[in-house]
Every structure is written in C-alpha cells, then in structure tokens.
C-alpha cells in the first residue's frame, strides 16, 4: 500500500456514488411479456421475516404481475427444512425456475437442487454471491452483487472522512456467503488507499446472536482501543446494536458508523445523525434487475451475471429524500422504472 494515503482516489469514488444513479440499459431490449408467457418462478427469500429480502420478493411479484407471469414467494422463517419444502413444492408444481433470494445458500440444498434439475427446473440465485466469488456449480444463473466494491466504497469513505487516519472496527457475520469477499474488499482497499497507518479490527457475530454478541463486543472493543474512530457494521441492520454500544461507552462524538444496505430505520438514523452514512440499493431496481437476468435466461437470450444495481450513499445531506420515516426504495429516483419498461418493450 502507499505510504501516504491516496485521499484523491477515495474522494473520487465517494463522490461518484453520491449522485443519483442514472439508468443505462444492461442489455438488448426484448419482449418480456411474450417470451415469459406461461412460465412461473418460485422465489425463496432467505427469510420472509427479513424485511430486505421480503420487500425484494414483493417487488418481484408486482413486476411479474405487470409482465403477466407468476412469481410466487415461499413464505419461510429461515429454516432450511422450510426451504426444502419450498424446493419440493416448486418441483411438484412445475415451476420453470427457483430463485434463491438474498442468502439462501445452494450449498445447503444440494439434494433438492439435483432433484430440481432432474425435473427440468432451473436454479437461480440472486443477491447472494459476490461477483468475485464462484457460484455453487449447481446454480444455473447467479445474479451477483459486487460486495467487494461496496467494501471499497466504505473504505474510501472512512479514509476520506478521517483524512487517512482510520482505526476501524468491522463487524460481520461469517456464515453469510459474501461476507469474506465483502470484508476483504474493505481491508484491501484500506491497505491500498489509506496505507499502513490505518488499522482495523474484525468481529464476527452470527445473525442469530447479533443481539447478544454485537453490543458487548463493540463496547469492549471501543474500551480496549480508545483510538477507534469508525465502526463498520457491514450489514446495516447490525447498527441497531452498534448505536447503543457507542452511546453507552459515551463515544458518540468520537466514533462514527458507516454501513451498507439502505434499510429504512438506518436511513432514519442517518437523518438523526446517529449513523453517519449508509450505502443503499434501490429495492425496485434490484427486483427488476434480477427478473431481467432471469427472463433473458429463461427466454434463451444472452444474459449476464452481475446485478445491475447502482450503490447510492445516504448521508446527512440527502437522507431526508428517503422520506421520514424512510421507506424502502425511496430517494433513488425512478429512472429504473421507465428504463426497464422500455427494455422489456412494455411501451
């Protein structure tokens, strides 16, 4: 890494993601209505009790209706046995494809996937792998997210904001598939643009133990190393346990939070100032991009395997655009809606 922090590079990257995203068609237009006629997709969100994936699924259902084909959500609460049932249901009811959305790991459904393939049901995953990760070989179509780029953006942000004096506490959940790539994105970039004088610590807290582990761990870390000036919970729902940890250790003014996902309550916190920034993705955009990729695959067109979702930074300056209280899919503009309508020849 450079001896002196490359603040310019950091600044540039940050600014690039601070402007409202514009829609550039990810591929050639095609008549979605026609080619999807009679096809149906079953989407299994990692948990219907997880608002992020739940809302993507809901958006997909809406788009599906608009395009005249069926998208079914398999309601579940993150129990692999429920996912298994979902798979079997799709197979038994002749779905064209199964979408594993936002964290359902194909690795834990090997037998069912094999069965699905036998039955000619295609296996898709969306918003699961990082683009630099190799999807499970059993997957026919993976709509991946460049988490490592998000990581780099976070790294750039903290470097930029601290003028290159970063001591970050990164909180992640190793059991979530893209976490390693995501974290690597942060750390590599820190090493690159911020250099050796920037330090970081990593804490792993499995999702079910977020409430019991994040708060005490962050507290202790902050006390053990008073020079920490940024906490980076890589998934922003973690921040609800980071915020109180910072509050109770009385470091509101010295320790900031930068995170990713654009979950409404976190954007609220950005408006309140308890969270400094949150990198958001437009749900509607994600849903459309997922379906776009899938439809191209199902229609035998040339497809692509990177979700087309611009990352957009919410900070004190623009958080209110997401509404107060903030809502999903608000504050990103609406270019994608018209964009995809054109792309799918709805007009």
């Amino acid at each position: 890494g450079a001896a002196t922090p490359d603040l310019e590079a950091a600044k540039a990257n940050v600014e690039a993601h601070s402007v409202l995203p514009t829609f550039t068609p990810p591929g050639a237009p095609f008549d979605a209505r026609k080619c999807m006629a009679g096809k149906k997709i079953l989407t299994i969100p990692v948990s219907s009790a997880n608002p992020f994936t739940k809302n993507i699924a809901t958006a997909m259902k809406a788009v599906g209706k608009e395009l005249g084909f069926e998208v079914t959500e398999w309601e579940n609460q993150a129990r692999p046995t429920q996912w298994v049932q979902g798979m079997e249901f799709a197979i038994n009811n002749k779905y064209s494809a199964i979408d594993m959305l936002g964290g359902v790991n194909p690795a834990v459904l090997g037998p069912q996937i094999a069965e699905a393939h036998k039955a000619g049901v295609e296996i898709f995953t969306s918003h699961l792998y990082d683009t630099i990760q190799k999807p499970d070989p059993s997957v026919d179509q993976s709509m991946a997210i460049p988490y490592h780029k998000v990581g780099e953006l976070l790294a750039d942000w903290v470097t930029y904001k601290t003028g290159g004096k970063v001591n970050a506490l990164i909180v992640g959940s190793d059991e979530i598939v893209p976490t390693p790539a995501f974290v690597k994105g942060i750390t590599d970039r820190l090493a690159k643009v911020c250099g050796p004088q920037c330090r970081y610590t990593y804490i792993n807290a499995p999702v079910p133990e977020w409430s019991t582990k994040i708060k005490p761990s962050v507290q202790s870390a902050l006390i053990a190393d008073p020079t920490i000036n940024y906490v980076i919970p890589i998934y922003d729902s973690m921040s609800q346990f980071v915020v109180p940890a910072i509050a109770i250790t009385g470091k509101k003014n010295t320790v900031k939070i930068a995170t990713f996902n654009g979950t409404p309550f976190v954007i609220d916190d950005v408006q309140k100032g308890t969270v400094e920034m949150d990198i958001g993705e437009s749900i509607g955009w994600i849903a459309r991009s997922i379906l776009d990729g899938y439809m191209r695959k199902l229609c035998g067109l040339k497809t692509y395997d990177e979700l087309y979702v611009p990352f957009y930074i919410f900070d004190s300056s623009n958080a209110k655009n997401a509404g107060s209280p903030a809502g999903y899919d608000r504050g990103y503009g609406d270019q994608h809606i018209a964009g995809y309508e054109k792309l799918w020849m709805l007009k």
């Binding site: 219907s48 129990r79 038994n92 069965e115 190793d174």
Partner: protein
Amino acid sequence: MSEVRDMDAPAGANPGPRRRFNWVRFLEAYALLAALLLLGAIFGALRPEAFLSWANISTMLGSQAVLVVLTMALIIPLTAGDFDLSVASMLTLAAMILAVLNAQMGVSLWLAILAAVAAGFVTGVINAFFILYFRIPSLIVTLGTGTFINGIVLWMSGSMTISGLDDALTDFVVVRRLFGVPLAFYYALALCAVLWYFFEYTTPGRRLLFVGRGREVARLSGIRVDRVRLLCLIASGVLSAGAGIMYAGTIGAADPLSGLTFLLPGFAAAFLGATSISPGRFNAWGSLVAVYFLVIGITGLTILGIQTFVQNLFYGGGLVLAVALSQLVRHREAQEFS
C-alpha cells in the same frame, strides 16, 4: 379396538372385568389425530391440486422426519424425569462433525457418522455426570452444555456452512424413496415403533416410567435409578446425533446455527404428544401425531401464501388450544406429565 386396549392398559383407570368401551378415553386419545385430519381436509378443500397431491404429502412427511427423531430424543429423558435442553445443540454438532470430517478432511462417511454418534454418546455422559454426580437439576446442566456445544460448533466451522457431503448420505436420507416418500420418514417411523414397543412392552421401558414417576419407589424396588437416568441421557445424546446426521443428509450440508431452531418445536411436539394416544405420558406415536399436526398447519398456510407471521400464530395457538381441548375432555383434571 384391541390396539387401544393394549395401548392404554398401562395408562390405567378403567374397570377391568366389567369393562365397557370408554368413549371419553377414546376421544381423549384420538382428539389430536382427528384435529390433524380435519386440518388436512380444510387445506385440501382450499387447494386440492397443491395440497392433496401425493408429492406434497410425501414432502411434508419427509421434511419433518428430523424433528420427529429429535422429539424422540427428548421424550426418553423426559419420561425418566430429566430435561435435555442440549439436544438441538447436539444435533448441530453431529451435523458439523460429519461435514468437517467427511467433506473437509475426506474421512469416509461411515467413520464420520461413527464419530458423530460417539460425540452424542459423550455429550450424554457429560450431562449425566453433572446431573447425577453433582446432583444439579438437568435443566441447568443441559442449558449450560448446550450453550457450550454451540461454541464448539462455531469454532469447528469458523461459523461457515460446510457442504460437499458424500452423496451416499443424502441418497439414503432424502433422495431414495419408497412410495414417493423419502427414506428419512421411514427411519423416523421405525424409531417411533421401536420406542413405543420399548416403553409399553419391555421391562426396561416400564422401569423408566417408575424412575420418572417415583425415584424412591424405583430405588427401593431394586432399580438402579442413576444407571437408568445415565442410559436415558446417553440415548438422548445419541438420538440427537442421529437427528443431526439426518439433518445433514436432508440439506446435504451442515451450518452452525439453523439446527438450534428445532429445540422449541421439539418440546412443543413432546408435550402436545403427551396429551394424545396414551394421554398423560410422553409417547412416541403421540409425538409423531403432534409433529405432523403442526407441520400440516404450517405447510397449508404457506401453500395458501399466507404471510409468515401466521405460522407463529398457528404454532403457538395450536399448541395451547389443542392441549386445552384435551384437558376439557378430561374435565380439566390436572395431569402431571412424565
């Protein structure tokens, strides 16, 4: 009827020689089964093509076999008067051992399975050691060992999901089918039959009951109470390991956390099951009915596309109301379970 007579003979409370058929007892024993069928009928009426399809039914049967086995692991120590809160953690540990040894280190499947079962055995022994030697309530001990095991699993797995298990396992658990139903279900069924036979028709099984209901009486009747409890805890550990192996087989991988969600449903099934078939006792068939009563409800709701929170409402409400009903049948006379 002969079946009924045999089954509730030990349960006792009905005149022998001048014995008429006892409707109340029959109702009490089969209310839950009836409720199950009713539920099935309702969902069947709403979505015949999806719900009543043999495919769906076999899926339901197959996918919950793990829970059935885990419930069996629970009712053994429960009958002997001990709680085992560590079963779910043990399930996860067994699955993870399997994955680490077989998928990561390439140890042969059978050796890996052996190791997993051994782990279950050891856990049982450790639980028993603290419960019997130190005389600590089983609830505390197993709560502690359970948490401890979770730690071990997180450590072993680096809290990652580990896949790539030998196909033979998934083969023998979910892929191979009989009448379209995955083998897993038949394993669970066989286990139920064995336990039922063991509890009702073998001397050790009866002794268990005395250990659970009257420790002192059992002791004075020459039963080695502590040895019985030890064996029960070991059995529970080993069966949980078995459940873990089946779980790994069902999903073809092992993850460090999802297994833990089986604990409460397991207890729910055990207690709900204790109100049916041979009411007042934890019993295998009752537990089986209980598991599938709850599963049918959840699956039906999911197929109807009802929002997920309704699943919790059904689960909780179903449990309480079902038990309340069976209490009404027995005129709300309190029954101590074991």
